[in-house]
Amino acid sequence: METKFHAITNGEAIDRNDIPHLPFTEFRDEALALVAEGGKVVQLFGTAAVDGALPDGALPDGLLPTIAVMRLEDQLWVAATDLPETYASLTQEAEVFHLFERELAEQFGVTPEDHPWLRMVRYHPNYADRPDVFGNDYAVDIPGNYSYYAVAGEEIHEVAVGPVHAGVIEPGHFRFNCIGERVLNLEISLGFQHRGIEPMLPGATAGRRQLLVGTIAGDTSAAHSLCHAHAIEALALADLSVSTPDQMVRTAALELERLANHTGDLGALSGDVAFLPPANYCGRMRGDLLNMTLWFCGNRFSRGLVVPGGVGMDLEPVDSETVLGRLTELKPQLEHVIDLIFTTSTVRARFDGCGRVSHEDAQHLGLVGPAARASGMDYDARRVFPTEHYTQIDVPKCQPFTGDVYARARVRADEIIASVALLQDLLPKIKSTKSTAVQDHALAPSSLVVTLNEAWRGEVSHCVLTDAQGKIERYKIKDPSFHNWNGLAMSLRDTGISDFPLNNKSFNLSYCGHDL
């Protein structure tokens, strides 16, 4: 298709001068045209330096330099523009921009006019020292000036849940508008987990950056570390090309992460419909999978395993043999428990038709990962933008699904089976690896790199911009949960409120990945 956006490749640095700079109206038209063709937003963010110490009036002429990264089929597109203090929102034309525009407003004080739901995302003062778009005084506690969507009527009632929840889980606030047991609307307001990671990254040493990207979402450590590693490898002036065995280990790390989390999710889903045996079995097997990662790197959440330039450990053939042995032992147990879950009629009765998100809604919201695949979108970054060893692997396309809890569970089960097969094929090929030390590298000046990887929740993307001296000027992170929280809200429409826990588990989104 014809577009004024510039084609880029996943994980390849480009000169910032090669990014087409479009006047805002043209930028808006081109971006919307991409969406009309089925394009999705990968990143949309202000590129003013964010290092926690912006001087007053940091935006020249009051304009916010902004970059959009879009994807359409198997191509990535980039363009830049300058956003005036108020601009015509893109969200009113295409829902996929919804949270991105709210984030821009919160981070830099630019107002998207006619945005249908302009609210805070994470509740923090903007980085540009501008008047607050939301009229908040941040000395006052969260939520500030946040008016929730309200439904009026005699029999309407509201249920407010959180931030602290009943289980051992992260904090967030859920506001239900119900008529009787039926949910008319669920609004999810987050921000409680905001730690200010993005402003910390540009000034951090390589060692600290490694720790920070590993904790963006602790359960998605491998994927975020991989996106970070790809970005640094692309930008570094030194040759940081990754050896084939290292690539295999990194691929294995990502797949083990997927396996552990999907297995845990299936158990939790089973537990939520009161079928307890698989809940216990999956909880235990998830631990075994985490312990395989522990075997590789000394940490159950793969901290320090994926580093720029390779892997952080010296591995011997015996290591992958050990993990392969454990996985081979676990495989039939996984298969049998999955079979047990999906052939138990009481489970099927609860899963089938619950919390359906239509294909059309999923497209509009721009869902990613298993949640999107459950609604019949077959996008998988491993197949469409392959990195590492995925270039050699045939990641199976998922079958069309119905968008309900059953579909979201089934996608996970299928991915577990596929991941086990993938690892059984991959692990025997891994011989020894040599550890790569985490160190500061000189980076290419005035460059941009966009990296994408398929984490267990969906597409993770990091975007790094360097200044004329080769210092990181802006480090933008996007966790898949940023796309998917609204999918959860959508699934609850017209669903019984007692099915909320089940639907919530079926998405199992990250609070801290969203809140950063």
Binding site: D141, P163, A166, V168, G207, G214, T215, D219, G287, H336
Partner: protein
Amino acid sequence: MLKTLMNRFEQGNRTSSYPKTPIEMPSRYRGVPTIAPEGPDAPADLAKACAEACPQAAFDADKRTIDLGRCCFCGTCERVSKSKLVHFTQSFELSTAKREHLITDGIGAKNGANDDANAGALPDLANHAKQHFKKLFGRSLQLRQISAAGCNACEADLNVLTTPFFDLSRFGIDFVASPRHADAVVVTGPISRNMRTATLTTYEAMPAPKAVIAVGACAISGGPFTGSPEVSEGLESLLPVDLFIPGCPAHPLTNLHALLSFFK
């Protein structure tokens, strides 16, 4: 029905007999560190190099100590010193009752041996536990967990204690859904500005006497987020902490050992 039974048979009994039988950790696990005294193998220069390389500023080159409350157990100092100065043992018994106890001089190594048997660099937790807590909560301990900007790794490794391998409830310990039912609060994460009030409100909602447990580098010191204006410098700046469980995240066995030693 048949499938349920067959699965039950295949899964078997998985509950660990810890603490009766010890559990051995894999060799790459990084637990209690040992630190070698100054000598030809571990000169002052090497200590400086370790301190400079530490991303968490947890290593003090002059005193030759590691602050386990800041340490993220990334193993950088061990790599830099090629295990000659710092060596992480496989001992997961890392927890202490006092913040200052977490600043360890790695005494195990000073005794001449750089091995796990001598890893006792930390004061014995059971001896420093508050005795009235043992009396009150030794038979039944109900925990309320607050994730205050935790990255879900510490939360996951607490949650896993309820799975069959660890089976926390066999010790009379459980996680409960309300602070009203809780004896102790378990806080994870660096307590973001946006979670500060919710954390304090939850604590206030608990009936006294109550214990406070900080799990993970973030809850103890701010962890990797130290220095961000959006987080605190640790739970102690808000609440009186009784038990410190370090790690990034704290291994489930570190958590279990701490709970059993401190309360049982």
